[in-house]
């Protein structure tokens, strides 16, 4: 309060020029400003609407069950099954690592962290990773996993690089969800004799579940569309035909193995565009982009819906 009102610099009300009664000119200016501000809102809706319409039209006749469920082809339209599979696979693998670490980190930041050097160092690191370009994080993965650890392009290298990139987001969203739990709940639990950890485990985390799930889904949306991080870590080749009955987790060809290159849908779009070959390139990219956008829409709606339902269920009791 003091900070904000102090920064205005004129504590005794508005500028002298404003002390007159509103003139006709200032009323007109106000009307004009209102129209312009409404215009910005309308513009955003217009852009989004046309993008969705554009892809709906472009994907018409391309996206079909066979497009989603068949392998890419040189001569026909083919499909995107392997790359879509890789996107889902990378998403699950990344979230398996990022969610536990992010939620635990969020618990520390919300429940334990004091005002000290370590906390501010963590905050600085959080901001630093968030601002490092995704391509640089990808290069870091390239040097660390692909070159120095001699893994080559693997799904695991990609998932770890994606984890690095999204950990700050996951941690911050978890911290926010946990901080939103009222202090009274903690005090009541501690007053009943529960230890701090029992309080966190049985009171704070359950109450924060809706927020935590929203955080997970928002992070998942970002992971699903990311490409720059994966170009130089998970590889950019056209995937072979996957044999989904090969469950050998160490095999370099099994679709279930983390030790194989995994070109995702986003990377595939980039690859098709940069190679620029193939009679069906435009249709395939339009179709893939439509699939990506629909998935992102689903993630967003899902985050809202689940957050909403859980909040109502958990707070109504």
């Amino acid at each position: 309060m003091t900070a904000t009102s102090g920064s205005i610099g004129r504590p005794m009300g508005p500028k002298p020029s404003l002390r007159r009664k509103s003139s006709r000119g200032s009323i007109l200016a106000d009307r004009a400003a209102t129209v312009v501000l409404w215009g910005t809102g309308a513009l955003v809706l217009l852009i989004l609407g046309s993008i969705i319409l554009h892809f709906a039209l472009a994907a018409w006749g391309v996206v079909s069950p066979s497009f989603i469920l068949s392998d890419p082809s040189e001569t026909t339209l083919g499909g995107i099954l392997p790359v879509l599979w890789n996107s889902i696979y990378m998403l699950v693998l990344t979230m398996l690592i990022a969610v536990p670490v992010g939620v635990l980190g969020g618990i520390y930041m919300s429940e334990y962290a004091g005002e000290n050097v370590v906390t501010s160092a963590i905050r600085f690191a959080e901001e630093a990773i968030s601002s490092v370009p995704s391509i640089v994080v990808g290069l870091f993965g390239l040097i660390l996993f692909v070159d120095d650890a001699h893994w080559g392009f693997t799904a695991l290298a990609g998932a770890l690089a994606l984890t690095f990139f999204n950990l700050p987001l996951m941690t911050r969203l978890s911290e926010q969800a946990l901080r939103a739990v009222p202090q009274d709940e903690r005090s009541a639990s501690l007053a009943l004799g529960a230890t701090k950890w029992q309080t966190i485990r049985h009171v704070v985390v359950p109450l924060a579940i809706p927020g935590l799930i929203t955080g997970v889904i928002l992070t998942a949306g970002r992971v699903f569309g990311e490409a720059a991080v994966l170009l130089f870590t998970a590889g950019i080749g056209t995937p072979p035909h996957y044999n989904f009955t090969n469950f050998d987790l160490l095999s370099p060809v099994s679709p279930w193995s983390p030790f194989r290159p995994a070109t995702t849908l986003s990377v595939y779009i980039y690859k098709l565009n940069s190679e620029g070959l193939g009679a069906f390139k435009n249709q395939i990219v339009d179709g893939s982009a439509a699939v990506l956008i629909s998935t992102v829409l689903l993630f967003n709606l899902g985050a809202r819906g689940i957050g909403h339902i859980l909040t109502r269920r958990l707070t109504a009791s």
Partner: protein, 326 residues
């Protein structure tokens, strides 16, 4: 009970907590999870910095040479690793993107925070979240299929401004293909719009409601209140938003690479193709061999990007520190 206490004191067997209880295990675990981010940043900086200086250390390129405007890594007479075209292009493309995006985003934030009724907020805010979620390759593809052809078809002649007496005062070549500085900036301006909007929105919401009602009660119009009270009060927040948008724009790789035309020249006209730091790295990394000077130059570019982003983090902190101090 009392007896037990006495007995314990006598025998020195005062119940000491077990090892597991003395070390707060959960605390250690969550602490490790949080500090892992420090480890990641430290490792990332070390590795990128180490790779980034190889061009100078191993390949014997002097620091001043990277500020040359000539990029020719394959020249027989001695390759040239001037990074100036990329650095300047990154600055120029980002600057124009921000010029387009900032007024729009701040206007949108004002709309959401001051003007919009609840139903409009309920429509626009989720739309912005969808904007954030659209992957950068999709923005790039939209740029290629919609924006680039539009620019090439619409503005294909040179733009010339002539005055009666002075003669020609301004001329700019038209678009050749549409792949250009402007195309890159336009795509970026949409991509950073949600970032700038949401951070400025938070800044406007943080201004106490009493100040608004106070101003309106004195008879100001809403726009006067916004201009003379809200914008000055939230200035540091809006600045933070612009810096964050700048960071995102300067670091965006794929969308820019897809529409900018990839020509390593010094920026002169907004209609010409350019190459930014990120787009050159994206393009060349796969075509070079580890350890050769060409690739080392790419690592130096990524070090430049890292320095830009860390600088912006520090900048944001300084802006906010000033706000808290004043």
């Amino acid at each position: 009970m009392a007896q037990m206490t006495t007995a314990n004191r006598l025998t020195g067997l005062q119940a000491r907590p077990g090892l597991l209880e003395r070390i707060d295990v959960p605390r250690r675990v969550v602490f490790l999870a949080a500090v892992s981010m420090i480890a990641i940043v430290a490792l990332l900086m070390t590795f990128i910095a180490w790779q980034g200086i190889q061009l100078f250390v191993k390949d014997g390129v002097s620091v001043s040479e990277i500020f040359s405007p000539t990029w020719n890594p394959l020249a027989d007479a001695g390759p040239e690793f001037g990074l100036l075209p990329f650095i300047t292009a990154t600055v120029c493309v980002t600057a124009v993107a921000l010029l387009i995006s900032t007024p729009l985003s701040v206007g949108l934030a004002l709309f959401l925070s001051e003007v919009a009724p609840n139903w409009a907020k309920a429509v626009v805010q989720p739309s912005l979240e969808i904007f954030v979620g659209i992957p950068s390759v999709v923005w790039g593809w939209l740029g290629i299929t919609v924006l680039v052809p539009f620019l090439a078809d619409t503005f294909n002649g040179p733009a010339v401004i002539s005055l009666p007496v002075v003669g020609q005062v301004f001329s700019m070549p038209g678009f050749l293909t549409g792949f250009s500085w402007l195309a890159g900036s336009l795509v970026l301006s949409i991509m950073v719009l949600p970032t700038i909007t949401s951070v400025s929105y938070d800044a406007f919401r943080a201004v106490p409601q009493e100040l608004r009602t106070g101003s309106l009660a004195l008879g100001t119009t809403r726009w006067q209140m916004i201009r003379h009270l809200l914008l000055p009060s939230a200035l540091s927040g809006v600045l933070t938003a612009v810096v964050l948008g700048m960071t995102r724009a300067a670091g965006e790789a794929l969308a820019v690479q897809m529409v900018i035309g990839n020509s390593p020249t010094m920026p002169a006209a907004i209609t010409q193709p350019l190459t930014t730091l990120t787009s050159q790295i994206t393009l060349d990394m796969g075509n070079t061999v580890f350890g050769e000077p060409w690739q080392d130059a790419l690592w130096t570019m990524s070090l430049v990007l890292l320095i830009i982003s860390i600088t912006s983090v520090v900048l944001v902190r300084l802006i906010n520190k000033r706000r808290l101090a004043s």
